[in-house]
Amino acid sequence: MAEFFSMGGYGAYIWPSYAMTAIILAALLVASIRELKSTEAMFERLKAQIAPNKNNNNNNNKETPDGDEA
């Protein structure tokens, strides 16, 4: 086991290479997904803010704001 981690004496160069790759790629992926989720949430919020104004004019029908693409 220790032999595996020492990588013939090159462990100090090999492990940081793989660790750095894993950390940077994972961080970029997570950041991208988070940004998408928060933008989508903002879009839904704005859509909900705009939609009720329309619905009030239409005799107060109880249609949900979803499904009405402006």
């Binding site: 090999i14 750095m20 790759t21 790629l25 991208s32 998408l36 704005l46 705009i50």
Partner: protein
């Protein structure tokens, strides 16, 4: 091709393809990492340090691939004013920058034990560093204008001009004396690298590529949603 370039249709396709890319990326990385550490032999000259190749080379390939994709999308955006092309170029830039940074950093970690130095100002390393700066410049330029369209146009021109760097990177090991070894996979007469090392490298390369597609889809969806948010905001202001 134009049929897929419609943003609404694209969003539908992206939502369908994305989980497949995610699964494929995880699977390929699992197989690729196993091969890199357990089935690939140590090199007869470089010993175990050769295992750095399995992240270094795919990262470098993808750094160049992403730039080519970004330049191509920028050309399409400039010539045909296609709405999705701009978005794709913009979404690619940070991913390409990450790959290029990783190729420089892992190359440095490989260079220290093999060449005895973290860095040399030779043609391959320097042109790769320029590629990294081109990505940074592209992203900075995009945000430097109040008018989004002008930022997109200026950065697209930069992406195209910077594309001359790609052949320089590719042929730098042939044109100049360099510490960096010449190509051993993509070359005339086929790869000169042993299949036991070539296969892990190829699996890792495909894993890097599916990772790129995965993140690209996420980022394009984010950009398109942000565009819709901007439109709603305008409606809110003007429509009361």
């Amino acid at each position: 091709m134009h049929r897929f370039a419609n943003p609404t249709r694209f969003l539908k396709i992206a939502a369908f393809v994305q989980p497949w890319m995610a699964g494929l990326t995880v699977l390929l990385f699992a197989v690729g990492l196993y091969m890199s550490f357990f089935t690939a032999p140590p090199d007869y000259q470089q010993g175990e340090s050769v295992r750095i190749m399995y992240v270094h080379v795919p990262a470098a390939w993808m750094g160049m691939f992403c730039y080519a994709a970004m330049a191509l999308a920028s050309a399409v955006a400039l010539i045909w004013k296609h709405p999705l092309a701009d978005v794709a170029a913009k979404a690619t830039a940070p991913v390409g920058a990450a790959f290029t940074f990783l190729s420089l950093a892992t190359g440095s970690l490989w260079g220290k034990p093999m060449w005895g130095t973290w860095w040399v100002w030779d043609a391959r390393l320097t042109s790769m560093l320029i590629l990294f700066f081109l990505y940074i410049g592209y992203m900075a330029l995009q945000g430097a204008f109040d008018d989004r369209a002008r930022g997109a146009k200026a950065s697209a021109v930069l992406a195209l001009v910077g594309a001359v760097n790609l052949p320089i990177i590719k042929f730098s090991v042939d044109w100049w004396n360099t510490l960096h070894q010449p190509a051993s996979v993509i070359k005339m007469g086929g790869p000169s690298i042993h299949p036991d090392m070539l296969w892990p490298l190829l699996v890792m390369a495909v894993a890097f590529k599916t990772y790129y597609v995965w993140v690209l889809l996420v980022r394009i969806r984010q950009e398109l949603t942000a565009n819709k948010v901007r439109i709603l905001r305008l409606k809110q202001i003007h429509g009361g």
